[in-house]
């Protein structure tokens, strides 16, 4: 066994251990340790990625002493390693970018708790990505929810507490549905490891037994995870949760946490149920329709939003809609586009949240649009970063968002003819709406204005860490946009390894 094969397990355990050790530490120490751990995880994920890309096949890592049908396993393929790499990098830069703000708004005695939560969150994200066992997946989904709730409520203000409560209620409903679907799945198959469940399901479908329970299981787990990731009709908690949490929390939540549930759903589709059975069950059509509605409704709400954070939050709803629309196309190309958009959105949304923080800081901590006028001149780097993020979300060539939209459009052409036209139309309409609200904000921040009274004495100097984070996120956007071919090849290879 190659030493690199230990890395997925190491990174999960390392994050957990860091979380536990941080408990008695001071805020500053915990901060440095978390940053080190997250960087280490990024390095290990890159090593894993290059290893699986070179060998061309996935590997299974047995946890504990018991082999396949009984024990617990980790599985790493190209897609898992790629997602882990991007997630770790985005988390690192979101933390760095929002660090100063974090130390400003969070009670100094509590700041180490924030880093414990971040460590636990990263470990559960990695575990959800890598796990080969459904029940382990469920347990880490819950850990993810708890840690995310902590990230929302860390400020302790009334608004953030209420947002956290709403988030918890919706998440718990989602996990309840997911849990009962797992219980039923275990009942009809007798297994929890993904390969074994898949073999059992293929057998059941061949002999035409338990088809109704199987349909119930597929719908319950899909709806459960869709609720947790904030698909359109279940999005009501998102704007408040992202709007009142610290900037790094919002970046991590919208970029990574809601995406991890989609990753788990894709794993269930491919590795547990089998994609042709999913397509025949028509559940993808449901996701497709709600994805399309979400793309439009999210953008419409974003246009009507009164402040910059709400606008970015509503835009997240639209982007989640894009991902589900890609899954709903029910082709390999559609799935590739969806996974690529997960990466795009993770990189771009964190950039937008962190730069929006820089802009509001330069406007005397006001987030309403009138106060933001000319903010890009008061904080040029944040302004530039917001510009790049907006252009990427709108879909300007050379940036990540353009490739996403291109992939979605190409995938639509190869999909079911009934879906092609409606996908292309909604994609076009949604792009126009994106342009309306993002460019409206960009024009607003680049409109020169006499410095208003409330920000006169405030001197903006961006800390080196935050500046580095913004530059790195901008670069990641360009990397995804310019090196899209190798990355889509990797995603293709990863999806083939799933099947």
């Amino acid at each position: 066994m190659n030493f690199v094969q230990n890395f997925p397990c190491f990174s999960i355990v390392l994050c957990m251990a860091a979380g536990i050790i941080s408990t008695p530490m001071k805020g500053k120490t915990a901060k440095y340790m978390t940053l080190t751990v997250v960087s280490l995880v990024a390095v290990m994920s890159i090593a894993t990625l290059s290893y699986v890309a070179a060998t061309g096949e996935s590997f299974v890592y047995v946890m504990g002493r018991y082999p396949a049908p009984w024990g617990n396993e980790i599985r790493a393929g190209v897609l898992e390693a790629l997602l882990a790499t991007v997630f770790a990098l985005v988390m690192l830069f979101s933390l760095l970018g929002g660090m100063e703000h974090l130390f400003r708004v969070v009670d100094p005695g509590k700041i180490n708790l924030y880093f414990i939560l971040v460590d636990l969150l990263l470990s559960s994200l990695l575990a959800i990505i890598y796990t080969n066992d459904l029940f382990t997946g469920y347990v880490f989904v819950e850990i993810n929810t708890i840690a995310a709730c902590g990230l929302i409520m860390i400020r302790g203000s009334g608004r953030s507490l209420l947002a956290a409560t709403r988030y918890m209620v919706m998440s718990l409903i989602g996990s309840g549905l997911f849990l009962i679907s797992l219980a039923m799945l275990y009942d009809i198959t007798g297994h929890l490891l993904m390969e074994n469940v898949h073999t059992a399901i293929v057998h059941l479908v061949d002999t035409r037994e338990y088809l109704v329970p199987l349909l119930v299981i597929i719908s319950l787990s899909t709806v459960g995870l869709a609720i947790k990731s904030g698909l359109y009709p279940f999005h009501s908690w998102m704007p408040d949760a992202y709007g009142y949490a610290p900037a790094s929390s919002s970046a991590i939540l919208s970029g990574l946490v809601s995406k991890s549930y989609i990753v788990l759903l894709i794993k269930i589709f491919y590795r547990v149920i089998g994609f042709d059975i999913i397509v025949r069950s028509k559940i993808v059509n449901v996701l497709f329709v709600f994805g399309l509605i979400g793309m439009i409704m999210g953008s419409v709400s974003a246009i009507m939003a009164k402040d910059i954070y709400k606008m970015i939050a509503y835009s997240s709803i639209a982007q989640i809609g894009y991902v589900y629309m890609g899954i709903g196309l029910a082709t390999r190309e559609g799935m590739t586009a969806a996974v690529f958009h997960i990466l795009t959105h993770a990189v771009t949304k964190s950039l937008l949240f962190v730069s929006a923080k820089g802009l509001t800081d330069a406007s005397g901590n006001q987030k309403a649009y009138p106060a933001l006028q000319g903010a890009a001149f008061r904080n040029p780097l944040a302004g530039a970063a917001f510009l790049v993020g907006s252009l990427s979300m709108v879909g300007i060539p050379m940036l990540a968002g353009f490739i996403s939209k291109l992939l979605f459009a190409t995938a639509a052409l190869g999909a079911d003819p009934k879906k092609t036209l409606v996908t292309l139309i909604v994609l076009a309409v949604s792009t126009v709406l994106n342009a309306v609200y993002f460019l409206h904000t960009v024009i607003r921040i680049y409109t020169p204005v006499n410095i208003p009274e409330n920000v006169k004495g405030i001197h903006i100097h961006v800390k080196a860490g935050a500046a580095a984070a913004l530059v790195a996120l901008i670069l990641l956007n360009f990397v995804l946009g310019l090196l899209s071919q190798p990355i889509t090849d990797l995603i293709h290879a990863g999806i083939d390894m799933f099947a």
């Binding site: 029940f135 469920y138 347990v139 819950e142 929810t145 708890i146 709730c149 409520m153 302790g156 009334g158 608004r159 507490l161 209420l162 956290a164 409560t165 918890m168 209620v169 718990l172 409903i173 309840g176 549905l177 849990l179 009962i180 219980a183 039923m184 275990y186 009942d187 929890l192």
Partner: protein, 125 residues
């Protein structure tokens, strides 16, 4: 249909309880009732798992008197899942309760609508 229904009575009870808990968690405005709903919902799943894992006439999977024959015991995995699930739901309940305490200290109400109204009043002031 009839005999099958009677045979699976525990599962039917579990699914009904799940529905009761689910709607309570989703629709009730009162935080404490929401938490009760959450617990009913989770417990229903454990009833479902435990009922499915039980085999008539066998005993709990704890080795007694050195009997290691698998035919004597019920399937231990559902019981293990129930235990893990209980740990998860206890921690989630604790978190929800602590959120309730924080909200109650700030706004002196358990009703979510009432809390929202008081919050908006406070912001206007």
């Amino acid at each position: 249909m009839g005999p099958n229904l009677w045979m699976n009575i525990e599962e039917i009870a579990a699914v009904i309880l799940f529905g009761v808990g689910f709607t309570t968690l989703l629709l009730h405005k009162n935080m404490i009732k929401k938490i009760i709903g959450l617990n009913i919902m989770d417990t229903a799943v454990y009833l479902f798992l435990a009922a499915m894992g039980y085999v008539d006439g066998r005993i709990a999977p704890i080795v007694e008197n050195g009997v290691t024959d698998a035919e004597v015991y019920i399937n231990p995995i559902p019981s293990g899942l129930v235990l893990t699930g209980i740990v998860v739901s206890v921690s989630v309940t604790a978190l929800m309760l602590s959120l309730t305490v924080c909200l109650f200290r700030k706004y002196h109400s358990l009703d979510l609508d009432e809390i929202l109204i008081r919050m908006q009043k406070e912001e206007l002031r």
